[in-house]
Symmetry: C2
Subunit: 370 residues, 2 copies
DNA sequence: TTGTAAGCGTTATCAA
DNA sequence: TTGATAACGCTTACAA
């Protein structure tokens, strides 16, 4: 009766409801999950919860999940492969599928073991993960486009503050930066590649060496906005003007980016959408069963031009060719800002591509002990 | 064997482990929960996931929970009492306890029904919720202190942009603002109380009426930083200087506060700690069983002086007397900023009190159908 | 030290 | 249309 079965008489139905509400009956979800082998819960494994990016991803996941009546079970602090595997195991029976963000590429073997057990979607994994569903940000194209933007403004000596080695996002953004230089006939130089760890502090600390170079770089592409923020603070402390003396660009378009002085030119990434897409893919995988095809979606990254690189108009390149992928570029004319307090993000170029690759899953899922 | 029982011979133990790893055995957590009536999961019910405040609360909850080997099941978008009740019911059997943030005070009856079923901790509830564990922010003291700060700077005509009616935080902050005026011999006037909804946009839209007042207020206390941000943007658009023409203060100390121009004087609230405390209380309640005493913890709110109110030194008042509570004030001399990019938060006064009230729970928990 | 059986609260199946 | 029974995968208690 409580589950809406049609095969019960009206009178019995009423008595059941009366009793249930009199007893204040709450069904036991664990028992239901056990019996149905279905929990209506999605497991989320994240390396960290710090900062706006993760919070937006979770918000996107939560909204998409709740629309389909799914709850989300979150577990963070999983950077290494083994921790991810342990967390996944500890969710067995309690979740119908997993959304996993593994910042380091090396977890492939572990991911594979999980895939045999549970439907899974990887967030922001490196491209070459086959046999899995993946949703990722087009880090390469975003970095390429913003570097092209700097080149278009006349800069030739462009440094970068890269993210940590081994981090997938960091590597892709570096690759995009280098490729943009090469395509413009500029040879990438290791001396212009400084290493940070995605924290504000690292952007700050990198500044003495960077500024001491002779000749000094005329522009800097920081691989995320936090490092750009730290770097800008260091410049302010040194009395170096932005963008007059040096141009600075970031990546992520976090909330503070447009409040910095000068407002930061950066690359926008739709974290909310990233989460929402992951849910959509995961629910499809759950519905389709073990033998389903795998999908790979790439979200575009769009350049947001503000004031930190100067605003001379320049011809923007479209997305770069990339041997491994077909590409499709579309232009977005303006940023729709319902927010009246916006300090004006300026024009936006879409540097991303949206693509979908589909292939059969390499292996089915199996259940042990049956 | 897998659960570490001591009463098994070494050889059998080895064979079991071998078989388990050969079969890649993953225990089924739902079955375990069912049998043990223990899930090692905490349910989190939030009105929203948007913004830094919630993200920090969740981070605090997650860290504290994972330290005790608990996972967290999140469900958001629960503003009204009925939605909260439904979400709680849908978690029955799957969680060992609940952390609930109910922004509106009116949910008392619902909370009460939940309390009979599950251990529960309320986040940021209005003070007079008895029979429940509560962790809240000292909104009253924070608003009181920042208003006193404005008064101390010589302002007499101080407007406020209050939060939405019915919202507990908003009401408490308004109360603190009014009380500070009264204690300084200034009569609070309704005409100086503008209503926003905690969004940036509402802070912006309130500005025309506020600025049109004659005489114009010399200072404005916005009940959160988002509204302060919107209001500042409106001032900038009107060419009104801050703090020379008008002083502005906020509440929350969100990340962008110190990057605004001028950097925003505001009230800091430790959202991470709020979440962590809630977990501590909840785990204690779970361990203690249905008959346990209830605790009420109040986290301090500290004024962070930056540049948006001017920086003339002023004698700071300590926390206000409050008939219902004993108070204990401590001073914090400086903000420890490990962050090199900090634009200098300036001196901080602790306007909060930390208190703990303990009383026996008014009602035990009961299980129906037994 | 090992094996067996019962039961957690559901839902699915089958018989009445 | 209703009622009885088995089963989901685990842990606990008790017997061997």
């Amino acid at each position: 009766v409580l589950n809406g079965s049609a095969r019960v008489s009206g009178e019995t139905c009423g008595r059941v409801w009366a009793a249930a509400s009199k007893l204040d009956y709450w069904p036991n979800t664990a028992a239901r999950s056990l019996r149905q082998s279905r929990s209506h819960v999605l497991g989320i494994l994240l390396p960290d919860l710090h900062g706006e990016f993760f919070s937006e991803v979770i918000r996107g996941i939560d909204h998409a999940a709740r629309r389909e009546k799914f709850q989300i079970l979150i577990s963070s602090s999983h950077a290494e492969a083994e921790a991810i595997a342990a967390a996944a195991r500890s969710m067995r029976g309690r979740v119908d599928g997993l959304i996993v963000m593994a910042p380091h590429g090396e977890s492939a073997a572990v991911i594979d073991r999980i895939t045999h057990r549970l439907p899974i979607v990887l967030l922001n994994a490196p491209s070459p993960v086959d046999g899995s569903n993946v949703v990722s940000i087009d880090n390469f194209a975003g970095a390429y486009a913003v570097t092209r933007h700097l080149i278009g403004l006349g800069h030739r000596r462009i440094a970068t503050i890269r993210g940590p080695r081994g981090n997938v996002d960091a590597e892709e953004r570096l690759r995009g930066y280098r490729r943009a230089l090469i395509d413009a006939g500029i040879r990438p130089r290791r001396a212009l590649e400084f290493t940070g760890d995605f924290t504000e502090a690292s952007g700050y600390h990198v500044s003495p060496q960077l500024l001491a170079m002779a000749p000094r770089p005329s522009a800097v592409f920081a691989a995320n906005d936090s490092m750009a923020t730290g770097f800008l603070a260091a410049l302010a402390a040194s009395g170096i003007r932005v963008p007059e003396d040096i141009a600075v660009a970031g990546f992520d378009d976090i909330a503070i980016a447009r409040y910095l002085s000068p407002a930061l030119t950066t690359v926008r990434v739709d974290a909310y959408e990233l989460g929402a897409r992951a849910v959509r893919l995961l629910l499809a995988a759950i519905a389709a069963g073990p033998a389903a095809a795998c999908h790979h979606e790439v979200l575009p990254a769009t350049v947001v031009v503000r004031h930190s690189c100067g605003s001379r108009a320049a011809t923007m390149p479209s997305a770069p060719p990339d041997g491994t992928k077909s590409s499709h570029t579309k232009k977005i004319a303006t940023l729709v800002g319902s927010d009246p307090a916006s300090l004006g993000p300026g024009p936006i170029q879409d540097a991303g591509r949206h693509q979908r690759k589909t292939r059969p899953s390499s292996a089915g899922r199996t259940e042990a002990l049956q």
